[in-house]
C-alpha cells in the first residue's frame, strides 16, 4: 500500500509544482493547497500506514485496543501542518486579491513593482 501511496504523493507533488510554475497567482494558490496536501500525505506515509484503526482508545474502538492502531504522532503533526498551511493559504489568497486590486493583474510577470524591469544603473560618478 505504501508504494501506491508513494505514487499518489508523487502525483500530488508533480501537480503542485507544475502549478507553482505558472504565471498566474491563482494557479499558484491552487498549487499551495495541493502542495499542503502532498506534504501531509508524505508525512502520513512516512509514519507508515495502517488500515482503518484510529488511535482512539474508547467506545467501540476500545475493543481494538489490542490491535495496532494507526500511528498517532504523524497525525498530530499533520494536524498542526494542516492548520498552519490553511492559515498561510488564506493569507496568500487575500494577498493575491489585494495584489490584483493594487497591481491590476494576477500575472506575476506583470507584477514588477518591487523589482522593476527597467532598473536604473546606479550612478557611475562620485
Amino acid at each position: 500500500m505504501e508504494a501506491l501511496m508513494t505514487l499518489l504523493v508523487g502525483i500530488f507533488f508533480a501537480i503542485a509544482i507544475y502549478l507553482f510554475l505558472s504565471r498566474h497567482i491563482i494557479r499558484i494558490l491552487l498549487g499551495v493547497t495541493i502542495l499542503g496536501n502532498a506534504v501531509n500525505l508524505l508525512i502520513f506515509t512516512s509514519g507508515r500506514l495502517t488500515q482503518e484503526i484510529p488511535p482512539i482508545l474508547s467506545g467501540n474502538a476500545a475493543a481494538a485496543r489490542q490491535m495496532v492502531t494507526a500511528n498517532p504522532l504523524p497525525q498530530a503533526l499533520i494536524l498542526t501542518a494542516i492548520v498552519i498551511s490553511f492559515s498561510f493559504f488564506a493569507f496568500l489568497l487575500v494577498l493575491a486579491y489585494r495584489a490584483y486590486q493594487e497591481l491590476e493583474t494576477d500575472d506575476i510577470e506583470e507584477m514588477r513593482f518591487a523589482e522593476p524591469e527597467n532598473q536604473q544603473l546606479p550612478p557611475l560618478g562620485y
Binding site: 484510529p54 482512539i56 474508547s58 467506545g59 494536524l79 492548520v83 492559515s87 488564506a90 487575500v94
Partner: protein, 139 residues
C-alpha cells in the same frame, strides 16, 4: 444573498452549528474533535450568519472584535501552560482537578483550558477573516 428563505433559516442554523462546535470542542479529548475543529465549525456558523444576514449583525452579536477573541484565546492557552509554574512542574504540564457538582464530578484541567484557547483563536481569526472578506471595502 439575503434572500428571505436563507435569512429566516440562517440564525437557527448558526446557533445549531455553534452548539455543535462546542460539542466537538469538549469531546475532543476522547473522540475526534477538539478546539481547532470546533473553532472552524463555529467560524463557519458565523460565516453563514454573515452571508445570510449581513456582517454587522454578526459583529454586534459577537460584541468584541473577533481578533480580540483570538487574542484572548492565545492568552488563555498561554495561561494554561503557565499555570504549571505554581505546581512546580514544567511548562504546559496538564493539571487535573475533579470538581464535584450536583453529585456528578466534572474533571477540569489546564488541558481543557488550553483547548478552549485554541477554539477561541480559531473562531476569532477565521471569523475575522471571513467577515472582513464578506463586508466590502468599507472602513
Amino acid at each position: 444573498m439575503r434572500t428571505l428563505i436563507f435569512r429566516t433559516v440562517a440564525p437557527f442554523l448558526s446557533s445549531l452549528m455553534i452548539l455543535f462546535s462546542v460539542f466537538v470542542l469538549l469531546r475532543g479529548h476522547n473522540e475526534p474533535g477538539g478546539g481547532f475543529i470546533g473553532g472552524l465549525i463555529a467560524a463557519s456558523a458565523f460565516a453563514i450568519y454573515g452571508i445570510a444576514c449581513g456582517v454587522s449583525p454578526v459583529r454586534r452579536a459577537l460584541y468584541f472584535h473577533p481578533m480580540t477573541l483570538a487574542g484572548l484565546g492565545l492568552l488563555m492557552s498561554s495561561a494554561a501552560g503557565l499555570l504549571s509554574i505554581f505546581a512546580g512542574v514544567p511548562f504546559m504540564t496538564g493539571l487535573w482537578v475533579d470538581v464535584p457538582l450536583f453529585g456528578d464530578t466534572v474533571a477540569l484541567s489546564t488541558v481543557l483550558v488550553f483547548d478552549i484557547g485554541v477554539y477561541f483563536v480559531v473562531v476569532g481569526s477565521i471569523t475575522s477573516m471571513l467577515l472582513a472578506l464578506e463586508e466590502r471595502s468599507s472602513d
